[in-house]
């Protein structure tokens, strides 16, 4: 089951790399980052964690890996992180919410919309945390090299 999830999330993230026209040499990395983020999310939510914090941690891992890949392969972080977080993005839920709105089921629709906002916020926070961590490490390095 875990293996299936790994393969499908890799294909999904790499496929989105092609749709978003990522540079050809980082398509595989996009898939790998997407797989790592999704598997962490899958394991955490399977282990009983709520989906919002699980998404937060998944996005954080995807963000950190994107930063590392961007440095290694000399591309902007966004080219990898965009496809890397795609498996976590609440696309299905946002479609579901809108469908319930259109079908006059406002009760369910508002609940789902709130969930979408929370999940999107968790992804935004996860990516922002990884960016802040990267900048902090950079600043500590700069301060160390100045003091020595």
């Amino acid at each position: 089951m875990l293996f299936t999830q790994m393969v499908t999330s890799f294909i999904a993230a790499a496929g989105f790399g092609v749709i978003f026209n990522a540079p050809r040499r980082v398509i595989i990395q996009c898939g790998a980052v997407g797989m790592a983020g999704w598997i962490l999310y899958y394991l955490l939510s399977d282990g009983g964690m709520d989906v919002v914090p699980a998404t937060l941690f998944g996005a954080m891992l995807a963000g950190i890996l994107s930063q590392i890949c961007a440095k290694l392969f000399k591309v902007p972080v966004i080219t990898i992180s965009v496809s890397g977080i795609i498996p976590l993005v609440p696309g299905g839920a946002s479609y579901d919410a809108m469908r319930h709105f259109v079908e006059n089921d406002y009760h369910m629709a508002v609940q789902l919309s709130a969930k979408v906002m929370l999940l999107a916020g968790a992804i935004g926070m996860g990516l922002m945390f990884s960016e802040v961590a990267n900048q902090t490490i950079k600043k500590i390095h700069a301060a160390r090299s100045r003091s020595t």
Binding site: T4, F20, P76, V89, P90, G92, H100, G124, M125, M128
Partner: protein
């Protein structure tokens, strides 16, 4: 002192390409400021929103403005502009070379061919149907419906300028396909097939980008992107709901 108008042209062209390719607004402003200060301008002010860029240098000078018409996601162009801006800040290329290079990037069509995008969308759709808890019989219906839906979106987008209509038509077509597949015994859960198939269309990325812009303090950009993505999600939900209404 280099020609101020030329410098403004270079940095605004860089900003325009990045915004049209879907970069975050704070990155666009940062790149424009770096380019302008690399050419020796001081007190650079840039302000980017999803629909336009303002750029000014000094109180005595004029302010320039560009309107952004079309927005898509094209990460390759963002990477290209990024490497040109690195070359500029490390003084590897002159301002005229930078202008020529940016014009090339602006005109180039770097995207993957359409058939490849459609295959990628189809494979991603099938994968999502499994990832979101679908059973194996759902794999092929979701793959086919996702590919056809994405192709319909590309085709409709070429015919009509309004992306709302393109998304509505695409999700209507893939909804019909999914329901036909399930009613003929091809696939198990209609919900999983549809959710997998709409994933290449839904603006999940825009929702996330909007939240990031809001958190970074870019309130205008965040709100406008958020509204854009809600509108797109509405078009998709409506397209599928029309199928279920029959």
């Amino acid at each position: 002192m280099m020609d101020r108008v030329l410098i403004a042209r270079v940095s605004m062209l860089a900003g325009k390409i990045m915004l049209e390719s879907g970069a975050e607004t704070y990155r666009v402003e940062d790149t424009m400021n770096r380019i302008a200060s690399a050419f020796g301008l001081e007190n650079v002010q840039s302000y980017a929103t999803p629909t336009g860029i303002h750029f000014s240098v000094d109180f005595a000078e004029v302010t320039n403005f560009i309107r952004i018409q079309n927005r898509a996601t094209d990460l390759h162009k963002i990477a290209e502009v990024n490497s040109i801006s690195r070359d500029i800040t490390s003084a590897k290329i002159s301002i005229n070379e930078a202008l020529v290079k940016l014009n090339d990037v602006d005109r180039a069509r770097l995207a993957f061919p359409f058939w490849m995008q459609i295959i990628a969308a189809a494979l991603a759709s099938g994968s999502f149907a499994i990832m979101f808890g679908g059973d194996w019989p759902d794999l092929f219906p979701a793959t086919i419906a996702g590919g056809v839906g994405y192709a319909a979106m590309l085709g409709a987008a070429a015919l009509v300028e309004v992306s709302f209509v393109a998304h509505f038509a695409a999700s209507f077509i893939l909804g019909i396909l999914a329901v036909l597949f399930i009613s003929n015994g091809f696939g198990a859960n209609v919900d999983k097939v549809i959710i997998g198939a709409v994933m290449p269309l839904v603006p999940g990325l825009h929702i996330t980008n909007a939240v990031r812009d809001l958190m970074a303090g870019h309130l205008v950009a965040g709100v406008s992107k958020g509204v854009e993505s809600v509108l797109t999600a509405f078009a998709i939900g409506a397209g599928v709901a029309v199928v279920f209404a029959f």
